[in-house]
Amino acid sequence: MSTKPKVVTIDGNEAASYVAYRVNEVCAIYPITPSSPMAEFADEWTTKGITNIWGNIPEIVEMQSEGGAAGAVHGALQAGALTTTFTASQGLMLMLPNMYKIAGELTSAVIHVAARSLAAQALSIFGDHSDIMAARTTGFGLLASSSVQEAHDQALIAQAATLASRIPFIHFFDGFRTSHEVNKLTLLSDDQIRAMIDDKLVIAHRERGLSPDHPFIRGTAQNPDVYFQGRETVNSYYLETPGIVQDAMDKFAQLTGRTYHLFDYTGAPDAERVIILMGSGAETAMETADYLAEKGEKVGVIQVRLFRPFSIKHFLKALPTSVKKIAVLDRTKEPGSAGEPMYQDFATGLLDALQNGKIAQMPFLVGGRYGLSSKEFTPAMVKGIFDELAKDKPKNFFTIGIEDDVTHMNLTYDPSFTLDESKWTQALFFGLGADGTVGANKNSIKIIGENTPLYAQGFFVYDSKKSGSQTVSHLRFGPKPIRAPYLIGKADFIACHKFNFIEKSDILGAAKEGATLLLNSPFGPEEIWDKFPRLIQEALIQKKLRFFLIDATKVAQETGMGTMINTIMQTCFFALSGVLPREEAIAQIKKAIEKTYFKKGPAVIQKNFAAVDATLARLFEVKVPSQSTSKKEFPPIVSDKAPAFVKEVTAMMMAGRGDELPVSMLPVDGTYPSGTTKWEKRNIAEFIPSWEADTCIQCGNCSFVCPHSVIRAKFFHEGYLEGAPISFKSAPISARGFPETRYTLEIYAEDCTGCNLCVEACPAYDLKDRTRKAINMVEKPADLEKERANIAFFEGIPLNDRSQVDFSSVRGSQYLEPLFEFSGACAGCGETPYVRLLSQLFGDHLIVANATGCSSIYGGNQPTTPWTTNAEGRGPAWSNSLFEDNAEFGLGMRVSADKHAQMAQDLLRKLAPELNAELVDALLHQPQELESQLRKQRERVAALKVQLLKMENPLADHLLSVADSLVRRSVWLIGGDGWAYDIGSSGLDHVLASGRNVNVLVLDTEVYSNTGGQMSKATPTAATAKFAAAGKRVGKKDLALQAISYGNVYVAQVAMGANPQQTLLAIREAEAYDGPSLVLAYSHCIAHGIDMTKGMEQQDLAVASGYWPLLRYNPALRKAGRNPFVLDSPRPSIKLPEYAYKELRYKILTRTNPEEAKVLMELAQELVDQRWNTYEDMATWKAEAFSPIY
């Protein structure tokens, strides 16, 4: 090609999607981590009018699940369109049935997969080949890419091959490595893409499609007579496919100069020890083999690109004849198998080759597992495997990278081994989520990768929290392509963008000798040394680090950048790292600033320029003293009071040392103790609430809305105040009939995220100063000793007796202990206050089935989890199955609980003659509606157990095992709108129709929040979302009305920011109703693009505008002959735009397409008005107008 190829720095997802988009006509999509960005890019390009190579814009259709996407793909293919989809993990599992069909019908198609672990003992969003291997029986070809460039190139090779072979392909690359690694690559031109795609084959594909103009039937049912033969008809296609793929690779090489083979070998030509693997690990292994071969070791690596259809012929061509020992590495686990899948294919293939004389003798073949769930796979591990192969009898079925102290399968290796890293500049950046560090680093990679001859690579590691998370950016720069898909072990440059990281953890552990440390610090050069813990001082001295200091926060404030420190820290990196000469580096930064802020005008550009200049003037080098002086140690990860498991296992994960945990330390079945967030004390807030006891009216609103359960209330006899710390606050209780009683609102300062919702919710103003409320944000003290002492004292005061508390008022409910606390949800989360409330109301008899999504991540992501227990050791029993099956999963729990209750009752009756008759009668017949009644039933069960333990009747043992089920279980199915409206919709519908006593809480954020805000059927008209960038034209599904149509389902729509009392009432009614209940809870979310401190205010506006009417439909009222439909919110007092245009999701459209925004907003208003009228009308109906119930 005559034109100079375009060089870009993008990640693997974009690289693959770029090609997929150009060579397809239809994409059926559904979001799933880590493949979502592929679909998002495709959708975005459609919105921008970008065309494929035939000049038309591909049709993008978002489906309700991956199963739906696969069906749509199948249909589109059958109708003749070039069709693709993007997925991963569980998504691929849902596609399997269609994939058999697509392959069985010899249909050309490529599915692009960011390969990810499958949920087994736990879910994992990270990368391995479990999903790919589960799909290997479908008949799809499996083509693996190992790098960002390959993901780009092979997306095209796969498309060319599928058209030529008629075998459909999965083109895959490693999720959360290649998918998210930013690297420099050469972009394929449209001419090159066109040259690879034979239009005759495209037309042939089209002609194989169904058409009434030349009809045929496909998809029939066959009988025993011909099914078998029919299955064998495809053989010749599979036999030819490897050759076709290689032909495509060869043609590609001619066009681009980049050469690929089905199996590529690198290493010593006379290698005796060879490792075989595929995916990103191959890059690491190949670099290591070359390095070792250069040093004279007879080692080599074969990278597998085409795993299926498997071609031993092509493999043998690549394998040096000198090879004596082979290790086949699988990035998956197939428990109970004779070996992992790729190992088995090679074993079979080699045996066949031996039997047929293709090889003289069988090499010593071993298999091993590595890198599950993105476990690091390093050159040291590769070296370890080669060393094992050097042994007489290398271990088979080994693991590498972990310590298996139970079955001793792991290999040992020397972790200090590295390749020659001097060819790169390696930099590590420690940032706070959302502080712009990741964005700035991506920008740096772009600047260097796209504007200089240097190569650049970036990978970004996040912790598992959604608020106050730490990000670590791993950046490499060098003169040659960077093939190092593993984290940086030894860095030349370390930047710490948040000062307190250096106080808490050993961020210099990864510093090379002579490396540079850049620290953003409020302390100046004179005082900084004394602020460091001992280990940091020692590392600075011993590693001879150069140390630079900047007060980026101050520079940002002074240069009008507000709290944005990213440009400042990026400037420091450019000035200090030496990747580019300083002058050039600064010029490049300024060029990038001009480009970024072009639309915002010269003033914004100048402001950024000024920040760059001010940065350089305020960047100080600090001379490192020769002696360490600090006595300060890093704070302990968890308190000494923590249970042993937390100290030994959880704390290791919290400290970022989970890799060091051996197999024996982990539970065998994914069962972990509840309530571990309380040990974490993340201290992420800079400002925390402070309670003004004198101003407070003790309404409970602040703790009611608190997303992190950090505000706790108790009332107690004043006698308990004896010995209270001086700073412990209390006030006389503001209720009659409680003499000598005090009230305290305690703030858990170390667990607070500083979200400000409590202050917003507080209705009480200081009469003397209207700017102050009964709760106000204050700067968090550096020393929290007082706060800790107050909390300890508060915890020593007895909890309020649940049977004495008024459950029906907001105020009363806040005396109930939350059994969901300190989750990792976003600061100001709109979902967690509802979840916390459930735990307060029903926690000690609560069973939760939680759909995958935000709530399962903040509810169940390791290392620490928020569902906890009360002083009796009781608390919510929580589990997450999948995304799509949560309703069914929860129903199963209900059925099981009911079955056990029934068994217990039956056994009670049978054993009655041997038991206290009065007790048996009470156990069987006393009500369990109120808290006091539940408490009595528990006492009765305890008494029963005492009697049963003394009995010798074998039935007593059975009754003992189910006796707890005699206490009523409250089963709740929790999930987001992605689950309830889309992927789990049919299951939810079925479960609601079952009539069983399950309670459903839908945390409705109106998008797929966890995966980045993709449209769901709950997304409202006129709002934008991912996959609905042009604004949603279809109305939100009225799930409430759907459920009401059954008649026997309790339905409520709530928004606690608008009416907390109604929320409380609805949740209690739902639980009390002996049948299915559905509570739709408006949950503000970062995906709405709002000021999160005003989340509750937005809820209020949503209700005030009539967009979110508060309602309750109670079948019990219908049964009593009353209108079951109650509209709890007043008539709309504002128009929809007054609420909607405070949110970026609506506002964006006014900026991208104002005319369309206007049309859609008018439509949305009409929908709101119409729905309101319908509801208002329903509220006046007679009972008979609603469905009669059994």
Binding site: P34, A434, V438, S1009, N1010
Partner: protein, 329 residues
């Protein structure tokens, strides 16, 4: 009948100009205004703090939703993908200029020096025929002297004048000790026109909720007297054009302002109340009135009752006041 006039050096076909209002947010309505006989359109005001607040809001949302956790690298398209800041305003200028022939006057309500300069420049580049600078400033700081406040107005005018080549009008409030002198100083600073007067949206209280209420009331015909006074006084004493705004609900107020000496008269309230087509009515009624008095050109009407042109100039001064008081007896 010749309704043509000249305003800040721009030839207009009618002295009836649409003043800054949300009506001009829709380019389609600007076309309608031209069709209905508007002499010119002053676009709705670009408020610097609004632009800044919006940019800050976008920035803060983008920042707080990007790179937060592994599964969601972002929630919204990159800011460069959509028009925030002034872009949408400038686009309206561009569209209006493409679609209509009458002058389009941008309206700028700045806060900072940089804001005045940058946004004025952008408006000029987008094709605005003139800029109305709307100085809405309440000197709540009790340490500020009158002289300092006046100087601030003068400085802003100078700043904008030095930035752009297109004519500028200054919309100001009447609360100066020496309005006449102030007008003169603004003209000397570079104002090509003065728009008399700006209506401050003054707060009200809700005594039930004990809250400050910011509600909007359309201007009323009886509010024309103050601008009428000053236009009548300033007519002939300045080279700058005079625009009358406030209180115009129909042709009678327009005629009064013209008689006082206004080069143009501006209204939005009348259009809010009666619709854009009311421009036709007002033009027709102006013509009918002129016809009745046999004027053939608006220029003949302008300033007929100004202080300089009436037999008893003191009518506009103290004597007039005494006369009114006497009449009350």
């Amino acid at each position: 009948m010749d309704l043509r006039t000249t305003y800040m050096g721009l030839p207009l076909r009618s002295p009836i100009v649409v003043s800054a209002s949300t009506l001009s947010q829709d380019p389609g309505k600007i076309v309608q205004m031209e069709d209905c006989g508007a002499g010119a359109v002053v676009l709705f005001s670009l408020f610097e703090e609004q632009i800044r607040a919006e940019m800050e809001f976008y920035e803060s949302v983008m920042r707080s939703t990007s790179g937060v956790f592994a599964e969601a690298m972002d929630y919204f398209p990159d800011e460069s993908e959509y028009n925030i800041g002034t872009e949408q305003y400038l686009e309206i200028i561009r569209k209006a200029k493409e679609q209509v022939e009458i002058p389009i006057i941008a309206s700028l309500n700045g806060v900072t020096n940089e804001g005045w300069i940058e946004y004025a420049r952008q408006m000029e580049q987008a094709g605005a025929d003139g800029i109305e600078i709307n100085i809405f400033y309440i000197p709540a700081d009790t340490s500020l002297t009158g002289a300092e406040v006046e100087q601030r107005y003068v400085d802003i005018v100078k700043t904008v004048k030095n930035t752009v080549k297109i004519p500028i009008a200054v919309k100001l409030n009447p609360y100066f000790s020496a309005m006449g002198n102030m007008a003169k100083r603004l003209e000397e600073a570079g104002a090509d026109a003065l728009v008399l007067f700006n209506r401050f949206y003054q707060p009200n209280f809700n005594i039930d909720k004990m809250e400050v209420v910011f509600d909007l009331e359309y201007s009323h015909p009886n509010e024309i007297r103050l601008p009428l006074l000053w236009i009548a006084i300033l007519r002939g004493q300045l080279n700058a054009s005079l625009a009358a705004t406030t209180g115009i609900q129909g042709a009678p107020e327009i005629i009064k302002y013209l008689l006082a000496g206004a080069d143009v008269t501006m209204t939005a309230s009348a259009l809010y109340k009666h619709g854009i087509r009311y421009l036709q009515t007002m033009n027709r009624e102006l013509k009918e009135w002129m016809d009745r008095f046999m004027f053939v050109s608006v220029r003949e009407v302008q300033g007929l009752l100004s202080q300089q042109n009436i037999a008893n100039p003191s009518a506009y001064e103290r004597a007039n006041y005494i006369k009114i008081l006497e009449a009350q007896k």
